[in-house]
Amino acid sequence: MEKMILPGEIVWEREVNASGTYLHEGKTYATVMGMMREEKFIPLEMAYKPKAGDNVVGIVTEERRAGYSTDLNLPYNGMVPTRKVRIYLELGGMIYGKITFVDEVGNVDIGEVDKLPPGKIITVPPSKVPRIIGKKSSMLNQIREKSGCSIFVGNNGYIWIGTRGNVPLVLKTVRLIIDNAHTSGLTDVVAKYLEDNK
């Protein structure tokens, strides 16, 4: 039984640490819209907070002494420290990397950086990214296979798509996933969609 919960509504009558909730006087309340599914609270819509370990796609915006300032679709730029990275990045170049460090004021460091060739960058709501990737990348892999496109998905909501392959199909499929992110059986729906439209 699925139930939609609004910000400020009670989720559990006891204190539970879960994403998208806060604790108050022994109870747990929702901070964002979410769904209760099998005793788990799943936030439907959440403004992204970067954390170490997240994979990100970024666009290099500036070369500084400390490193490359990178646009991550966030209010603060990410930084690729030059001392950690032995590649040369150009302004406007795209990268795929992992967040190594986030401090209390939101400065983000990125490591394990791969340079991405020219391609298309689209923005999706970060809360929908897990659905686009799927369990063990199952969703993402079927999109890659059926479209023939190279795709990298960042937890920050940037998706890089290579120029070769059926790019419009990827765009439409991502749109389909975002519109139906909260429904179950989505993987099968997408499989059929990809098959019908490839």
Binding site: I59, N77, P118, P168
Partner: protein, 265 residues
């Protein structure tokens, strides 16, 4: 006050989009799979404001522009003492896009208002000579364009909203030199509906009705305003250049497509 982050990002994205779009166009595809002279989904809703004498909401794809037409009383221009006046103002609401900031009108919003104004003025659809009230007082028509969502090609959505709003407009009664709100003489008769068709140039390609990403990738842009059978205004904007043949091609498409849009009002 400049949004450094957004501006910088826009510049960087511009470079990426241009390359991407050129690649796709070489394969004969637009980003959203439209043909080069196709409009996105267009819809018009008239009479959406009860506080205005005329109004319309126009949507092209995700772009949404609201137009309000309101009457007022004004002193006429000294050189045309018996003629009414009309003015077109545009407001790019900050809620419409992350790149719009609150504050005085930007050059883009002023340009849009003036282009729409030019189309209406050249087409002579508002009979200013019939707007005289008494000595020193004439009717004024305020056409306000409120941009509420920026999905690309705001100009065509704005011109469409304006033409629809004008066709929705009722002329208020004037008693003892004053407008009586809510009491009408009849519809504002407009003999034609000026609309615009906007194209962007990317390499050798001319695309009608650009979406936001296509606008970013564009070298320059051409807006052609038409009424049935005539061009009533043109505006080239952006840094690039156009060949005469390209302009003539756009005019040809605009004369046809303008009529398609007019049918929706």
């Amino acid at each position: 006050m400049i949004l450094m982050g957004e501006e910088l990002r826009e510049l960087v994205l511009q470079g990426i989009q241009r390359e991407m779009l050129s690649n796709m166009l070489a394969q004969g595809k637009r980003l959203d799979e439209r043909e080069k002279n196709d409009y996105r989904k267009v819809s018009v809703q008239k009479g959406v404001l009860t506080t205005a004498e005329g109004s319309a909401l126009a949507q092209i794809g995700d772009s949404k522009v609201l137009c309000s037409v309101k009457f007022g009383e004004m002193t006429p221009f000294a050189d045309r003492p018996t003629e009414g006046v009309f003015m077109v103002m545009a407001e790019f609401l900050p809620l419409a896009s992350p790149v719009f900031e609150p504050g005085p009108p930007s050059p883009e919003s002023i340009e849009l208002a003036r282009v729409v104004d030019r189309g209406i003025r050249s087409a002579e659809v508002i009979d200013t000579k019939s707007m005289f009230i008494e000595e020193g007082k004439v009717l004024a028509i305020f056409i306000d364009l409120y941009v509420m969502d920026h999905g690309g090609n705001l100009t065509d959505a704005a011109a469409l909203a304006a033409a629809a709003a004008l066709s929705d407009t009722k002329v208020p009664k004037v008693v003892d030199g004053k407008i009586v709100r809510g009491d009408y003489v009849g519809p504002l008769n407009i003999p034609d509906k000026p609309l615009t068709c906007t194209f962007i140039k990317v390499g050798d390609h001319l695309l009608l009705d650009p979406i936001r990403e296509e606008e970013r990738a564009a070298e320059c842009q051409l807006t052609v305003g038409t009424v049935d059978g005539y061009v009533v205004c043109m505006q080239k904007s952006g840094a690039g250049s156009l060949k005469k043949s390209e302009v003539m091609e756009c005019i040809d498409v605009a004369l046809r497509k303008g009529n398609d849009l007019r049918d929706l009002i």
